[in-house]
Symmetry: C2
Subunit: 453 residues, 2 copies
């Protein structure tokens, strides 16, 4: 039985770069820069028989020549040469390998044979293997970054409580980039690619006890061991929200998933059932995954699915109601008594059903009044702010944040529009309120919090 | 029988502002500024017994005192005073009234009585009425803008071929703002609010012959005369693409739509059938409406629903395939012969199914080669560009545009990500290619072009 502890991947004292190169743009060179740029605090050992030193560091002929212990080795060499180098790493007693190299099962028969041999080494020895065909580990807390993506092209996000576990490298990289642009805080992003050894279950087992991770997003094309996965996910979801996307819902998607990480994607319904069983919040697609990242970075999940909609534009409010209905949220009217209270405090042309329509005559305090009064009857709120109405001021942003704190229930902002709105959306984000730029995104975020899917 | 020609709303030689005010921020003042700012070329006549002149213009006691003919009168006075002013306008022979004022059917019983009286005037006289409770007309070609939304808050879009007809004012204003931010060109935006007279059918009949409008987007909460609408829409859709959203798909949405423009929203299925009959492209929600605006501004509709997906990231490509499957697009594999051709021209680790996965080793010319080779077997393409791969350059943007022109079939770009991608998305837009930042948006745009819903 192998050691299930994979924590050394997330706080290695030493990293060997197998196939290190001084040539800018080469995989290994990008990775060494990623490690430097994040401020990796441990020791880095370049390994490549072609060089004596790289960037002022001694370069080793083989991993065996390194005198120090090596916690993890990052393989950036052609697929055909990985097996030999892996034997060296095993002999050296390296704890973990991250095989960045592509050219395995995802490319056909020849690669599949190589991958089987690699799997055999993994099964028969103590080394834990991440990959092949992967980006590896980005850890914003312990400061490790093995992603071979140029920082000029894909920015790294600030530190925070969100961790992403992904089978797909392009998904991991793209989400990283989106989160950076949105200013959302990330603890870890892990990409295990073809997953011959370390996969979602190992990572979930590790992350359940990881104090820096407050919420977990999971991208799956397939699962290796269904039973173990459900067990690991259930334990993790009991401690922190876990949401997951399963790609390959249609025949075409399944075929795409198969060719790119060599995975056999199972039927979607099976995954839906497994997610439910494990207490995972299922998200349908990329957009919803992003919505979940945003909203769960700011709010705990909601106590139920009764959503209050407040708007200052009737038609746009109706679109939110439609979208909420699509997602199984309950857009119930306020009680008779509540309606009377609201009506007594608002101008006669306001609608006090749900959506509450404050109309173009709205002022900042109307929003706050409705939130404070009506939220006793709801689990969460979507507040639509269209900035056209002339009485609205930027003070509304802080007022809504304060009200949401006072109420203690999730408040989601929906503010579509152009330049003026987009600038204020950034201010909402900075104030700590999740903000979305379409009725559908806001409704999806609400559905995530209400776990209404 | 009334005159169905409503063209004077779109090129009035003279506009009277009933209730004109020199006070900044007042409805009428905002509207006068809107007209000035767009460069309205006709005559403007302020009307208000309280003032002798406003902003250097003579101010009239009543519309009757204006010596010139008055093509349209914009009513910015309290609902209770609209009837009297309307009698004056009718006597004066004003051709069209835009009643901006709220406080009619949408606010309850009292307002409903007022609205009925207004309707009676409309039925018994020659005047055509837009509103009440509306923004009126924004015409980017003839230069008229009666929208009482501050330009500082909601920017006006550049001139172009897209026209929007909307029952909802907040929808019209928000879409206007989004289109401005996206740099999409607009011909007209019309909002008729409570629609006691001029509505979607009149506008469609006018717009069918409007040379400046190339594509029409329609926002509906309800319909006044179903038969006439289908007839008008069918004639319009035969000449230019018409897409439509029907809000109020669920009970809550229906209730919201009713309270805000006083409309009775019918069952969604009836609208779906009507849209189909009229040849209208149905869009489901706000986000999809925006996608349709973007993609139909750049492309004609597609010949069928066979979509080619090209990607440089397998997992992200799989998400596009999933989204296309959801929307009824056909993600079919290339023919055996085509696969062989593609495989012979690409590195062995590329997947030549559909999606075609060019992987992180992609270079600019790979995209173009695949497009030119494979598009003979497809109706349209979604090209995903993740900018991480180091060999990709900004030249790709023009190369893809040129290829799409040469092929003569729609090419949709999908490029999610952060700052680096978002900057390039703007470059794609400027090059004339529609670009979307999620797999789901790109797939929805493709479905709009393929009319696959």
């Amino acid at each position: 039985m192998k050691n299930n502890d994979i924590s050394f991947f997330f706080n290695p004292k030493s990293v060997a770069i197998i196939g290190a190169s001084p040539v800018a743009g080469k995989l290994s060179n990008v990775i060494m820069n990623s490690l430097k740029d994040i401020g990796y605090p441990g020791k880095m050992y370049p390994v490549n028989p072609k060089y004596e030193s790289i960037d002022g560091m001694e370069c080793y002929q083989s991993v065996a020549d390194i005198k120090d212990n090596v916690d993890i080795a990052v393989f950036c060499i052609p697929a055909s040469t990985v097996l030999d180098a892996m034997e060296d790493a095993v002999k050296k007693g390296v704890k973990g390998a991250i095989i960045v190299s592509a050219g395995f099962k995802e490319t056909g028969q020849e690669g599949a044979v190589l991958e089987e041999k690699l799997k055999k080494i993994s099964n028969e020895t103590d080394i834990r293997i991440m990959g092949p065909n992967c980006l590896g580990v980005f850890d914003n807390i312990s400061k490790i970054d093995t992603f071979f993506i140029l920082r000029e092209r894909v920015k790294r996000p600030p530190a925070g409580g969100l961790s992403i576990l992904s089978q797909s490298g392009s998904f991991a990289g793209t989400i990283m980039d989106e989160l950076s642009a949105e200013g959302l805080g990330v603890a870890k992003i892990v990409n295990y690619g073809n997953r011959i050894d370390v996969g979602e279950s190992d990572c979930l087992e590790y992350i359940v006890g990881d104090k820096s991770t407050r919420v977990v997003g999971l991208y799956m094309e397939s699962v290796d061991d269904g039973k173990r996965f459900i067990e690991a996910a259930r334990r993790c979801a009991a401690k922190k929200p876990v949401f997951a996307i399963k790609v390959g819902r249609h025949e075409a998607g399944i075929s795409a998933a198969r060719s790119h990480t060599g995975a056999i994607a199972g039927r979607y319904e099976i995954y839906s059932a497994a997610f439910k069983k494990a207490g995972i919040i299922a998200v349908k697609d990329y957009s919803e995954f992003l919505d979940a990242c945003k909203v769960l970075s700011k709010h705990e999940t909601a106590g139920g699915r009764k959503v209050l909609i407040i708007t200052d534009g009737g038609g746009m409010g109706a679109s939110i109601a439609d979208a909420c209905g699509d997602l199984g949220l309950a857009v119930a009217e306020p009680s008779r008594k509540m309606k009377d209270t609201l009506a007594s405090k608002l101008p006669p042309f306001c609608a006090v059903e749900n959506p509450i329509d404050l109309t173009g005559s709205v002022s900042d305090k109307d929003y706050v009044m409705v939130l404070k009064e009506a939220m006793s009857e709801y689990d969460l709120a979507i507040v639509m702010v269209l900035w056209g109405p002339p009485l609205l001021t930027d003070r509304l942003i802080k007022m809504l944040k304060d009200a949401s704190v006072e109420i203690g229930k999730p408040v989601i902002i929906c503010s579509p529009g152009g330049e003026y709105s987009r600038k204020r959306n950034r201010m909402f984000e900075e104030a700590g309120l999740p903000v979305f730029s379409s009725p559908e995104e806001a409704a999806r975020a609400a559905a995530v919090l209400a776990r209404s899917r």
